[in-house]
Assembly symmetry: C2
Homo-oligomer: 204 residues x 2
C-alpha cells in the first residue's frame, strides 16, 4: 500500500447568469504507477503541469490517464500525457491502438494490486471510477461525476438534475456500491470527503 | 455560401491482433468562421497544426471546435484552440463557462446562416453533426460516427456492432434524416462520400 492520493484542484459547479461555471476535480494518484484522473477543461494545461510539479511529477512520468467519462471538462488535456495508457470511460488506448476490455460486463481493469478501474455507469452510460488502497486514508474512490460533491448525498437533485444523469437508477446503484466500500470519495465537482457510517447505512 | 469543407485527415478503423486501430476523420470548415470538427487522438497535435497550416489557418484563428461526441479519438487536442467556443456532444463551453442549449429537444445551434450544429444521437446519446452549405459541394454533413464510413450503408454491422451504438434505433433515424438532406457526408472513420440517389431512396 504505497499509494497516495493528491487532489491537485478541487472541482466546482455553480449556476451563473449565462449558464453554469464548472470544472472537474483533478487528481494525482502517486505510487509505483503515476495516474492522473480527469484533465480539466482545455484551458487548464499550465495548471496541471504546475500541480503535478508540486509533487515532483512530470507529464512524461505519468503511466495512466483516466478520464472518468467523456465530458469536455474531464478530458481537456490528455495530450500532455503521451507516455501513458489512456482510459476514457470504457475505452482503453495508446496512440491509435484501442484495446478490448469488457467494462460493460462489470469487469474491472487492474492496474496493480492496489489500483483498479471499475465501471460505474449512470452519469453517462460509460463512466468509470478508480479505487486505490492507501496507507493514510484506506480505500479512496476517485469517482468523477458519479458523485457531484458531498452535498448531493442529502440533496440528490444535485446529481440527478443539476449535473444530469443518463441513467439515474444505475447511477444510484453504483453510488451505493462505492459508499459501501470506500473510506474516502473524490467527487467530480467538489473536494474529497470522508464516507461516514451514516452514508454507509443509507447506501445499504 | 462562402464555406469550403477540407478534410485534413481521413479516419480509419480496422481490427488488429491486440484490439482495434482507429482514428477519426479530422475536418476544417473554412469560411467567415473557421471550424475544426473532431480533434483526433492526443498523439496527433502536430498533425493537426500541420494540416491547418496547409490551408493558411493557425489554431488561434479557429472560432469553433466541434467534437461530434466525447470518445477519446475525437477530443484529443481541444487544448490547441483556446480562442474558440467548444461544442463537445451536447455541451457548449468556453473556459469554465458552460452555456445552456437544448440539443435534447432537437434544437440546432446556429453558427451562421450557412453552418449549424444539429443533435444526431445514436452512437452515443449526445452525438452532434455539423451541416454546412458550400458552393462546390452543396450541403455537406460532417457527422462523426453517425456514419462509420461509406461501406456501412450496405453493411450495417459496421456501425451497429464494430463501432458500437448506444441507441441503434435513434441512430438509424438520424442516419436517414442526414441522407435525405445531405449531398456529401464526412463520416467518423473514413473518407468523404457523395450521397447517391440510391442512398436517399433507401433512407425514406
Amino acid at each position: 500500500m504505497t499509494y497516495k492520493v493528491h487532489v491537485l484542484y478541487d472541482g466546482y459547479s455553480k449556476m451563473a447568469d449565462e449558464g453554469m461555471v464548472a470544472n472537474c476535480t483533478c487528481t494525482l494518484i502517486k505510487g509505483p504507477k503515476h495516474i492522473v484522473v480527469d484533465t480539466m477543461t482545455p484551458w487548464d494545461k499550465e495548471k496541471i503541469i504546475t500541480g503535478l510539479g508540486h509533487h515532483g511529477v512530470e507529464c512524461s512520468d505519468v503511466h495512466y490517464v483516466v478520464c472518468t467519462h467523456g465530458h469536455s471538462d474531464h478530458t481537456g488535456n490528455n495530450n500532455l500525457f503521451l507516455n501513458a495508457k489512456h482510459i476514457v470511460g470504457f475505452s482503453i488506448s495508446c496512440k491509435d491502438l484501442y484495446f478490448i476490455h469488457p467494462f460493460e460486463t462489470g469487469e474491472p481493469f487492474i492496474i496493480d494490486e492496489d489500483v483498479k478501474v471499475v465501471p460505474t455507469p449512470g452519469h453517462t452510460l460509460t463512466d468509470v471510477s478508480v479505487l486505490v488502497n492507501t496507507k493514510d486514508k484506506g480505500l479512496v474512490a476517485v469517482t468523477g461525476d458519479l458523485f457531484e460533491r458531498e452535498e448531493d448525498i442529502t440533496n440528490p437533485s444535485l446529481w440527478q438534475l443539476v449535473a444530469g444523469s443518463d441513467d439515474p437508477e444505475k447511477q444510484q446503484q453504483n453510488r451505493n456500491k462505492i459508499m459501501q466500500i470506500a473510506d474516502w470519495i473524490v467527487p467530480g465537482h467538489g473536494p474529497i470527503f470522508r464516507v461516514t457510517e451514516e452514508m454507509k447505512n443509507g447506501a445499504k
